[in-house]
């Protein structure tokens, strides 16, 4: 009887993707084994090229370990003949005993050392490989065009950069071990042959049987093991759903049906695992039985050889000991065959992501990267160097052709800026999202943009933020075409506040500053202008408070106000607010917009609330990707479509009641008081 204890040899438990991903990575269907072996070989070759030194050392460790196993059996055999047998016949001297003791301790220590070498350098190979792939993936995430994000769900991107990278490299641990096992077979046969050729014959019968058994077992458990993962995923999904929906379960008295549903899934999982246990419980005893049968056979063969004088008792002991040490290593080869196809599937997903093009606007320029001085500059530079070395094994990304011809960079005029779109269109793939959009926002004007879902508002925001370039037409800022402007100058002039108000898990000041050269005073001023200073000062550490991941410790409205402060902090001359105050109390919202209407800042406000809309100087009505109308609220009220749209926005406020555009100054006092 034995146990699975040595699976640890293969997958050190510092990472177990299956656990984090209970649904399980979808594996191949056993059929493609041949294909995956050749792909696997290519993958190994690619990894070796990337980090040759530690890889070679880990293989030396693996082969050395095989040599030490055989050496241990030889030492035991020699000790039998030259120390044990004489000791019980004629007696021996103390020196011989010390020699034997030293040899046994030495060979054990050396065997341990080879294991350390194999494991350590195997780990180094794997860790470096993971670092290389992870860096490449991270770079690609930073550099690929926005379009690439549309085709890839966040969950998939995360899985690729974590689970896939880990899975792709996991066979780097069993690999040197497997090579060691092959060496062990060769060394064992050689040593058995030299002890007595008949012993080698017994081994030749035994080795293939063990290897075949191990291979057969890994193939057989492949499918049920994947099924177990699937059933486990189901159990976990039901638990998540059932506990997430606990309100529904309780209010609908669905406890019993839920229990039954979970019971079935848990029973399924248990049965599948018991099915797997049926296979395991055949394999484990067999893998122990075969070498034992071999050892007894050796005893018969050995007795005959000793009788004929072809071998000594020591030769026999040596062979028997070697057989006893063989059972476990033989199954490692099976594990490699298991890890390899997974690695091939995962690396394909990693490569698929790495094949995304690079948007040159975000590609690193080495000059600016190296002049970033941090405490870890030296380490960083080394990392960059290593990374570029690692690139050799990483597919080069096709660069997106630079959208702008090399134009002499122009400068923006002083003062408030106008923003002008001229025949702007945008499509991704075959889908035309915007076409022939032309309008002009005057310097210092507040322009609201309204439109129903799918009218193209978000796309327009992306174009104004220069996250996407228009497929036709031009955008002019202060009369200058934006393509002729320096990217940094453009970003300083136009800033965007998004509805989803993404906050990073760091301090509020950092979130507002976001790495820009903005003084503490400017940060404070921006927080004041977005009316965030009140609640921020009440936080445990004020503006230095670190917001929880994704800003969970703040309410939606508070997050939006911080995101707005971020947009204001750089002193932009054009602010694009993409429904950026939707979660803010309407009164506070009005007040914020009032303070922003300072005549120096041109504002484009995507709005849903009537109160916001009526605050604007003019309103742009988008429909089906183009401009339906532009004008003041009163002017647009002549269009029944516009009336329907804005009426729907605010059930509470009948349109006929909305005449005056005066700011609700009376209400500001209340909001101010609330703060």
């Amino acid at each position: 009887m034995s146990t699975h204890s040595h699976t640890d040899e293969l997958v050190p438990d510092d990472e177990s993707p299956a656990e984090e991903n209970p649904a399980g990575v979808t594996l191949d269907d056993g059929d493609e084994t041949a294909l995956s072996i050749s792909l696997g070989a290519k993958l190994i070759a690619r990894f070796v090229r990337m980090h040759p030194a530690p890889f070679v050392l880990s293989i030396i460790g693996g082969v050395g370990w095989a040599a030490m196993i055989v050496a241990a059996s030889i030492v035991l055999g020699r000790i039998t003949d030259e120390v044990i047998e004489p000791a019980f016949d004629e007696g021996i001297d103390g020196g011989t005993v010390w020699w034997a003791v030293a040899a046994l301790v030495g060979v054990g220590a050396l065997r341990g050392l080879t294991v350390v070498v194999r494991r350590w350098f195997g780990s180094v190979t794997e860790a470096r490989m993971q670092r290389s792939l992870r860096s490449a993936v991270a770079d690609r995430l930073l550099e690929m065009p926005m379009g690439s994000y549309r085709n890839r769900p966040t969950g998939q991107l995360l899985a690729t950069s974590d689970v896939d990278v880990t899975t792709a490299t996991q066979m780097l641990m069993p690999l040197p071990f497997s090579l060691g096992v092959i060496a062990l077979v060769v060394f064992s046969l050689a040593s058995l042959w030299s002890a007595d050729p008949m012993f080698a014959v017994v081994a030749v019968l035994l080795f293939p049987a063990l290897a075949w058994l191990s291979r057969y077992y890994t193939t057989r458990i492949h499918e049920p093991a994947a099924l177990v993962q699937q059933k486990l995923g189901r159990v976990s999904a039901i638990a998540h759903e059932s506990f997430d929906g606990v309100m529904v379960v309780k209010t609908l008295a669905r406890e019993e049906p839920e229990r039954v549903r979970f019971d079935e899934a848990a029973r399924d999982l248990a049965d599948e695992r018991i099915g797997l246990a049926r296979l395991t419980s055949i394999f484990e005893p067999l893998i122990i039985m075969l070498p034992n049968l071999g050892m007894v056979t050796l005893l018969i063969v050995g007795a005959a050889r000793v009788e004929s004088g072809g071998a000594t008792i020591g030769d026999l002991v040596q062979a028997v000991a070697l057989f006893g040490w063989l059972a476990f290593p033989m199954r490692i080869v099976g594990f490699l065959f298991q890890a390899l196809p997974r690695a091939v599937v995962s690396i394909a997903r990693v490569d698929d992501l790495l094949a995304e093009p690079v948007d040159p606007a975000y590609a690193p320029d080495s000059a600016s990267e190296s002049d970033v001085v941090t405490e870890s500059t030296a380490r960083q530079t080394a990392a960059v160097a290593r990374r570029s070395a690692a690139r050799s094994g990483v597919p080069e990304a096709p660069e997106v052709p630079a959208p702008k011809p090399a134009v002499v960079e122009e400068l923006l005029p002083e003062g408030p800026l106008s923003l002008e779109l001229d025949g702007v269109g945008f499509s991704f793939g075959d889908a035309r999202v915007l076409h022939d959009v032309s309008f002009r926002a005057e310097p210092g004007e507040v322009l609201a943009i309204v439109g129903s879902t799918g009218s193209g508002k978000s796309t327009l925001v992306n174009l104004l933020a220069h996250l996407d370039e228009p497929t036709s037409g031009t955008i002019r800022l202060g009369g200058v075409e934006t393509t002729a402007l320096d990217a940094d100058e453009l970003r300083a002039a136009v800033s965007v506040a998004y509805q989803e108000s993404y906050l990073f898990a760091r301090s509020i000041v950092d979130n507002v500053r976001l790495g820009r050269d903005v003084s503490d005073e400017a940060v404070q001023a921006a927080l004041r202008r977005s009316l965030a200073d009140g609640f921020v000062s009440e936080l445990p550490e004020g503006p230095a408070t670190v917001v929880g991941e994704r800003g969970v410790t703040l309410s939606g409205g508070q997050r939006q106000r911080i995101a707005l402060a971020r947009a204001l902090a750089g002193g932009p001359r054009v602010v694009v607010a993409d429904d950026a105050t939707s979660a803010v109390d309407p009164v506070v919202e009005s007040q914020i917009l009032e303070t922003l209407r300072d005549g120096d800042t041109t504002m484009l406000v995507i709005a849903h609330r009537l109160s916001t809309i009526t605050l604007a100087d003019r309103i742009l009505h988008l429909e089906d990707g183009t401009v339906r109308g532009i004008g003041t609220h009163e002017e647009l009220l002549a269009d029944p479509e516009y009336v329907a749209l804005v009426t729907a926005y605010e059930d509470d406020a009948p349109v006929e009641g909305v005449g005056a555009q005066d700011a609700p100054t009376g209400a500001s006092g209340v909001a101010g008081g609330k703060r």
């Binding site: 009887m1 204890s5 640890d8 050190p12 000791a87 005993v97 010390w98 046994l104 060979v107 054990g108 065997r111 050392l113 294991v115 780990s123 993971q130 860096s135 991270a138 770079d139 994000y149 991107l157 995360l158 976990s236 759903e241 506990f243 997430d244 309100m247 209010t251 609908l252 008295a253 406890e255 839920e258 229990r259 848990a266 248990a270 695992r273 018991i274 246990a277 049926r278 419980s281 005893p285 039985m289 018969i300 007795a303 009788e307 008792i313 002991v317 970033v372 941090t374 380490r379 960083q380 990374r387 970003r491 998004y498 790495g515 919202e589 749209l645 059930d651 509470d652 406020a653 609330k674």
Partner: protein
């Protein structure tokens, strides 16, 4: 077995509790909680001992053949052949027994885990909503998934390793002692230090792995921020900084991984070293004093092979020590959950709720989620049957808690909740669900079709009933416009529908059940205007002929209600019609001014 007592088993809050529970206590409590463990487990363990003894067949055969098979006149073939045939048969029979034992142990383990998992799941649903806060939810899921999985891994390796290796060690040491007790003593003395040695390395390794795991999740959250915040990073020119930080965190993860792997690299080879020492001791002592003790050469060689048999199991137990500790901690966590008392006890005999609009009465109701932190104080309220009441108040004022008490998602800490003249504690689950219906804010849907989700409201409803419910709420067209009508899959948590649409489904569900008391938690998130209109109509229709309590976030809802109840800091501070309250001023006056200031610009 003091080595497996949890020392620093769990870094979480439960650590304190777990530290007080010894391994034996956990085992005892575990056996009590799992009747599956009692059936046939002892038989399996007896088999395991026999199988372990069987591992001695080869060393004994070697000893017998070397000492008795080889006489001075050469090999005694009849003895050798007989011994080998006996050995062959024994090995084969024991392999069969091995298979039976292994399968028995693994099957028992799976059944124990199944029982534990399903009992824990059922228990979670028996606990009141007080246990289901957002923060605790992940923990509850972990109890029936990852905590049990830790146990499952332990069961398929660690637990069996303990049984198999412990018996193997004991049997081998006994066999060695039978040959020559001094050798057994020496092996035990030489091998014992391997456990503390492995323990030291293991503890460091554990810390290193913890560190590595934190670095992994750091990198992961950096990457997830890069993906989620991509628009912000790019439009603010922060890509360069993000790149630097990402690479730094990848670098830190790499370093932490190498530290952890260092301990991994030196851990297992310890057994190679100790194996060398043990063999050397046996051989050294054996050849020096053995002849004097009357040993034969074959006996010493057999002792060498038995020593080899002992080293491996000792090392394996050393390796599973840590896993054992984690598993015990996981087991303890699940057992603690099962011991958590059920706080909303269903009545044995349920009283019926009248099949009409239900009056509501709260008598001196107080409530606290955690002892000493009350969220409702002495609330006294009477709501007439058929009334349309809006409850308003700031976040945290206690209005949502009151809604939960009205449908007995928890019991009040003090006082009583009377619905339809009956204390809600005397009304059974099914009757309650039929008479009182809460339409929650988030409109959670299960990952199945629309019709199944609505049918949850009344399991015996036909397709026609379901469609009828939608139509009576004016939602027939909406259903028709969905890709597959009633058969439309709503996706995980209902993600295929918008928040507003999910509420529509929840309303249809309520309509189907025809409750006498309807509690509506209004959605706060923005709902698109079209759906908003549908929602308004459906709600008005649904409210007809029932008592309606709306947790209002909108002025229009409060204004349209017959009566407005204002909560502030866990107390009812104002109560009356909209107009009366506006005239009163106070909390409602301020809320109203704020609303009106915006919408009536």
């Amino acid at each position: 077995m003091s080595i497996i007592e949890p020392e620093v088993a769990d870094p979480e809050a439960e650590a304190a509790h777990l530290q007080n529970a010894t391994a034996t206590e956990v085992l005892r409590a575990g056996v009590r909680a799992s009747p599956e463990l009692r059936t046939g487990f002892l038989v399996s363990v007896t088999f395991a001992i026999v199988v372990a003894a069987g591992r001695l067949v080869v060393p004994v055969a070697i000893q017998q053949i070397l000492d008795k098979g080889f006489t001075s006149e050469g090999p005694d073939w009849s003895f050798i052949i007989t011994a080998c045939v006996v050995a062959y048969v024994a090995i084969a029979v024991l392999a069969v027994l091995d298979r039976v034992t292994l399968l028995r142990l693994l099957t028992t383990a799976e059944n124990v885990l199944y029982g534990l998992r399903t009992r824990a799941f059922a228990h979670v649903h028996d606990l009141s909503l007080a246990h289901h806060s957002e923060t605790k939810r992940g923990v509850l899921v972990a109890r029936v998934t990852s905590d049990i999985e830790v146990l499952a891994q332990f069961a398929s390796w660690g637990a069996i390793s303990w049984i198999v290796n412990l018996t193997l060690i004991v049997v081998s040491v006994i066999a060695l002692a039978v040959y020559q007790w001094q050798l057994a003593l020496i092996v035990v003395v030489v091998l014992l230090p391997i456990l503390p040695a492995m323990r030291i390395v293991q503890k460091r390794q554990l810390r290193a792995y913890d560190e590595h795991r934190s670095r992994v999740s750091d990198t992961l959250s950096s990457i997830s921020e890069t993906i989620g915040g991509v628009r912000v990073l790019r439009s603010y020119g922060a890509v360069r900084r993000a790149r630097r930080e990402l690479h730094e965190s990848i670098e830190r993860q790499y370093r932490a991984q190498l530290v952890a792997r260092f301990y991994f690299a030196i851990m297992f080879p310890l057994s190679d070293l100790f194996s060398g020492l043990a063999l050397a001791a046996v051989v050294g002592v054996g050849v020096w004093w053995g002849p004097g003790w009357g040993m034969a050469a074959g006996t010493l060689i057999a002792a060498v092979f038995i020593t080899n048999l002992i080293v491996q199991p000792v090392a394996e137990i050393g390796e599973v020590l840590d896993q054992t500790q984690t598993a015990l901690a996981g087991w303890r966590k699940v057992l603690n959950l099962l011991e958590e008392p059920v706080d909303v006890v269903e009545p044995e005999v349920s009283e019926e709720l009248p099949n009409t609009a239900l009056a509501v009465e709260l008598r001196h109701v107080g409530f606290e989620y955690e002892p000493g932190r009350p969220v409702l104080f002495d609330v006294d309220l009477q709501i007439d049957a058929g009334a349309n009441v809006a409850v308003v108040g700031e976040t945290g004022s206690g209005k949502s808690t009151m809604a939960k008490l009205l449908c007995r998602l928890a019991d009040p800490s003090t006082g009583e909740v009377i619905v339809g003249g009956v204390d809600l504690r005397r009304v059974g689950r099914t009757q309650r669900a039929a008479g009182v219906r809460l339409v929650p804010q988030d409109g959670f849907l299960f990952d199945t079709t629309l019709i199944e989700n609505v049918r949850f409201g009344r399991p015996d409803a036909s397709d026609v009933d379901v469609m009828g419910a939608f139509e009576s709420l004016g939602l027939g067209d909406w259903v028709q416009e969905l890709p597959d009508g009633l058969a439309t899959a709503v996706g995980e948590r209902g993600d295929a529908l918008s928040v507003g649409e999910r509420q529509l489904v929840a309303l249809a569900r309520a309509q189907l059940a025809d409750p006498g008391l309807l509690i509506l938690d209004e959605a706060t998130s923005s709902i698109d205007p079209e759906t908003e209109r549908k929602l308004g109509y459906a709600l008005a229709t649904l409210a007809e002929g029932r008592t309606t309590v709306s947790i209002a976030h909108r002025l229009s809802t409060a204004e349209a209600a017959d009566r407005v109840i204002v909560f502030d800091a866990g107390r009812v501070v104002q109560d009356g019609t909209h107009d009366q309250l506006v005239a009163q001023g106070g909390v409602y006056g301020a809320l109203h001014a704020s609303w009106i200031g915006n919408t009536r610009s």
